[in-house]
Point group: C2
Chain length 495, copies 2
């Protein structure tokens, strides 16, 4: 029998060989592969949804939505690479008559980096797992992919892997372009990250899990990027006039805290506001919503237990008191909502209070004045999102506050809650550490592909050796930057 | 007196405060600052060139050229940010009537990451030092910059820093946007990298130096990118027909090996070719050029000593013999050129032979057949460049070889030498490890700015709070992706 290390060596060797073939397959053929995966998931949608529901405790409607999101993402990446613009083709034509030295012809585009190891998320057993955004974007870029099966939904993962493998064969992709490692040990994950053939890692999950991979990668002789989307409390700032006039606010906040039993990376775990009647009234109404909420089953018992523990720890911190709590269920697998409250001074002096409590929990920080409110924002670590409820005048008046918030997050939402991540090109789902390990990249939307590509320059290459994207005729009709002008035109070479 | 740590704390606090102001200053004003630095360098060009010449031993013409390159880079980045297209503005307009949920308005662009620590290169005392490409691109992106003075050219560095500070005051930039740390200890460099306010590091130099910074960064609680451009042997593959017909080849190779006493990151340290008459003739001619070359003074005694040592170690490796060597000078500060030769089998079994010998040294690897040639390429670590001399037919015939080379480098040159890096948009100066620590970014050319920026999304932001780049009217007239179409037009909002 093989040891884990022998197994990992074999998997990575296969991934390396597959990459060598796959990286030379053009965008349209790779797109057909992604479309075939989406078709396969759609064809088996009922079986897949049933498995995912059983393994994740997520409600049917949510899982069905997630099937749609998963196939939607795959098709979006297929369209992206089929169109081809994404490679950022840049051409500087040469000039053999330039003095003192001739100017070379230089053509640059993005090429794939190599085999990518993907660790799926427990809270999105489809859209951020085996055939999720990370896998789709890495395959789209031209990388081979190794998915480590998620221990919380192994059967869903295995079924989706089977669909991908069928699509791989049907569209004539090289064997092992996608591989599924069915081993839930931490050891195998570490070995995959440390393997010399691995060129990048994508992870969605806890801060502890993400940082363990970062540390494993740091022990490699060759540095590689680890894209870990980890933890965020997604602060919401409520400004006075807005609290007074926006009658929907308490219900909106409660719905965002409770959505999906709080198991979203964009769950609002922190609400910041100035002391006053407006806040008191809002909190009264928010408390009613929270108390009336019915606990639901969380993703798995482990997550429910961690939620209980972290909530308990948060509530035990100096100055923290419960504002409202739903009645606990008899079953420890259920997560009951809680909103707590603390003063700004207690919050600022205690870094634990800005740590994520994954589940339907939120902490209100009551500030005495604007100065304190700014101090609270300044005490926050990096976030995926920051939200800002205010009238037009207030947004101008609190500009300094908003700027501090902006510095600490990847997306700022005006008069809206952070949950409900729109999948589109202008979406950035990322943010300064510890929200992610690299604020320069998104894990949602078309731009997620840029995590897995590197620029490559061809100098004086014969036309026949250039990829389609860089040939004079512009056969793919993509947008290119030619001699510093953006154009869809062909290149006229004068020599 | 302050300790080093207290000094670093003060510097970084100032850099953080400066960043808070500087990041909100628009591109046109930042461009005026960069232009003022270029003007200042031009005005003091004679003094600066004289200092750099004294401290680097580089010839006058080379230093004058470098002054031009330095101001050229500063002006190129000024033009880039003045035009504004670089921020990759992306807009997805909202739809309040969408069912079941309204579609938010999302607008994304690049924003600066924070204070950047720059370590200059000894071989480019101007163009890759205090006001060099790293500083210019970080300042262009909107980051504050801390340059650690280079121990090999402290007076040049101090003088250029003075010019930058004057430009800073004259153009009304916040104090401490640029800071110069005049302390050549390794300790201060480590402390700068490890400081929590530091958000990125740029380095050009030896592999040992670069990896020390990577390791310092790995000990931080918060990961930050370290862009180190370190070591590359820039393999040149010579194909048989090309060796037979290209009569310029021996002179071209010799000139590239000898240029700047071999002190370029793109110096060709490795020449790969098939055994045969063509190679024998070429080597005879190359040997004459090398033997006739006159040793020149290297950048400093330290570099000359390391060159001698590394050359000696390379020549002592099993199977390595000297093909040709210039007579050593009496002064140990001079670097004498040497070309050595080894068989493919000896090369493949000895990883030391693919390590950089910084200076006018090159190793010829004589291969018995194509299979061996491919094995040699497969044994290479990551490179900045790979060159390929062949006729049109040969390039097609040796496709598998060229693909292997491509995988290991950032730029591939056909029928040309790697030295002479054209500064233009399509240039990629980077490559897989250990050429750099992050193959996804370039340190030369306009795209170097992307190392220091992160995407940021505004959701449903009031028009008045949006930066100019994202406002409906497109006041800067930049290229934007609006609802998935590339356009220079304004956005029509229907609500």
């Amino acid at each position: 029998m093989m040891t884990t290390q022998e197994h990992v060596d074999q998997v990575m060797l296969q991934a390396g060989q597959a990459f060598d073939q796959y990286r030379n397959i053009d965008g349209k053929r790779r797109a057909a592969f992604l479309q075939a995966i989406a078709d396969g998931i759609q064809a088996d949608a009922e079986i897949i949804a049933k498995l995912a529901q059983e393994e994740s405790n997520l409600p049917e409607a949510r899982i069905k939505g997630e099937v749609g999101r998963t196939t939607g993402q795959l098709r979006a990446f297929a369209e992206l690479i089929s169109a081809g613009h994404w490679v950022q083709a840049t051409i500087d034509t040469g000039d053999t008559s330039r003095k003192p030295l001739p100017k070379p012809d230089l053509r640059k585009m993005l090429v794939p980096v190599g085999p990518i190891v993907v660790f799926g998320a427990s809270n999105f057993p489809l859209a951020f797992s085996t055939a999720g955004g990370d896998t789709a974007s890495a395959l789209a870029a031209g990388c081979s992919v190794i998915v480590k099966s998620h221990p919380a939904h192994p059967r869903t993962s295995a079924k989706v892997a089977e669909v991908i493998k069928t699509a791989m064969t049907e569209t004539g992709m090289p064997p092992f372009v996608f591989q599924h490692v069915e081993d839930s040990s931490i050891e195998v994950g570490q070995q995959l990250v440390r393997h010399p053939l691995t060129k990048g890692v994508a992870f969605t999950g806890s801060r502890q899990g993400g940082m363990a991979l970062v540390e494993a990668a740091a022990r490699r002789p060759e540095p590689i990027p680890v894209f870990a989307e980890m933890s965020s409390v997604n602060p919401i700032v409520l400004l006075p006039e807005s609290m007074r006039t926006n009658k929907e606010l308490p219900k909106l906040l409660a719905a965002s805290v409770l959505q999906g039993v709080g198991q979203f990376c964009t769950n609002p775990g922190l609400i910041l506001a100035l002391r006053g009647e407006g806040l008191d009234r809002l909190l009264d109404e928010l408390a009613v919503e929270i108390r009336n909420s019915v606990p639901s089953k969380m993703l798995h018992r482990g997550i429910a237990r961690i939620y209980s523990t972290l909530k308990m720890i948060a509530l035990e911190q100096p100055g923290v008191s419960v504002l409202a709590a739903a009645a606990e269920a008899d079953d420890e697998a259920f997560g009951a909502a809680t909103v707590a409250i603390v003063s700004a001074s207690d919050f600022i002096s205690n870094a634990h209070l800005s740590e994520e409590v994954f589940g339907p929990f939120s902490l209100v920080v009551r500030c005495e004045n604007v100065k304190e409110l700014i101090e609270v924002v300044k005490a926050l670590p990096g976030q995926l999102t920051g939200s800002f409820f205010g009238t037009a005048d207030e947004i101008q008046a609190y500009d300094a506050l908003a700027r501090e918030l902006q510095k600490r997050c990847g997306r700022m939402i005006f008069n809206g809650v952070p949950t409900g991540v729109e999948v589109c090109k202008a979406m950035h789902h990322g943010g300064p550490f510890p929200a992610t390990t690299d604020a320069r990249f998104t894990s949602v939307g078309a731009d997620a592909i840029y995590r897995f590509a590197r620029p490559f320059s061809f100098q004086n290459a014969p036309e026949s050796w250039l990829p389609l994207e860089l040939q004079n005729e512009n056969p793919l009709q993509i947008l290119r930057c030619v001699d510093n002008e953006w154009t869809f035109s062909e290149v006229m070479v004068v020599n």
